[in-house]
Symmetry: C2
Subunit: 190 residues, 2 copies
């Protein structure tokens, strides 16, 4: 069976993330992806995870403690738009899972301005060959707008510096999530 | 580095094609993909390869003989629209590399009518879990029209029977090829 967008995102991470790497989870949510990343980088790696909602940070901490993976994770309760001030060293990868926290207040969703600021922040921090992956949920109205905006903005990234891959399921009626993978090129083409 | 559309197509084939399988190369061209498929299915498998151009069939035969992979390949000089009459047993997979034969007469390109007939032909023949992959070159005018038409048509395939994944590079100026992967579901959802 073809992988859904979230599992595709994880596969694109697994291809490049190594033990001891530093990576970013821009949208901790319930901590599923944070845990996935924490295991990829291992005890000597580092994950910096963001979420605007206190409930998300709490749920993520709880999950990481239970799974004995809190050691290598720094949780930041605040907007991922602060990313550039919170993270200053190069990163191998970053992951965005855009939309609202499952089961939580649906009025708090990721918003386009802060999202794009955060995405650009990760692109600046990426090591050559590093990737920022973005899962786009667009079943709800604000998700649709966010999807449109992200797709337009990534299409304008300079091709000398980045590859941008977009994947989508075309024939499903329930707006399944889509994926964007941005890879920083190893050597800028002149 | 992210895989280009052709290498993505090959990866999606490798995931499911087994030795002794029967597969279709709907666009033999210079035989590169035919050889790739012949190696995947092995000596006891079967590849049926189509091309409308005699030069393509000749080039493919020559390559397969040289690479000692002709044994498991049946070459068919004619339109892949004949697929349903030429191939009657179930297949694991089919591959389309749409566009003109590199280096050959550019007035002979795959055309949308025959392409869609052939794609539908493969979908009928696919085993459950089987895949038809389509690489879309749209750097030239007829390729652009063909891309549009294929994307519209695959979006209308019934979601109970098929998953349709589309991948594209968004930020490149030279119209890099895109990919469509159609997978026949193992159990129709009711």
């Amino acid at each position: 069976m073809l992988q859904n967008a979230l599992n595709q995102a994880k596969s694109y991470m697994k291809e490049i993330v190594l033990p001891e790497d530093h990576v970013v989870d821009a949208t901790a949510g319930n901590g599923h992806d944070t845990l996935f990343l924490a295991r990829l980088v291992g005890k000597n790696g580092k994950v910096t995870a963001f979420d605007i909602q206190a409930a998300a940070i709490d749920a993520t901490r709880e999950r990481l403690v239970r799974e004995q993976a809190i050691h290598q994770v720094t949780l930041y309760h605040g907007s991922h738009a602060d990313l550039s001030t919170v993270v200053t060293l190069p990163i191998r990868a970053a992951m965005f899972n855009l939309g609202y926290l499952p089961g939580a207040d649906r009025s708090i969703t990721t918003t386009s301005d802060s999202t794009w600021t955060a995405i650009l922040g990760t692109l600046n921090l990426l090591l050559p060959g590093g990737r920022t992956v973005i899962v786009l949920y667009h079943g709800h109205e604000s998700g649709k707008r966010e999807r449109e905006r992200v797709l337009q903005q990534v299409a304008d990234l300079p091709q000398e510096q980045f590859q941008v891959l977009h994947t989508a399921f075309l024939n499903q009626q329930n707006s399944p999530p889509e994926l964007v993978v941005i890879e920083k090129k190893k050597q800028p083409v002149r």
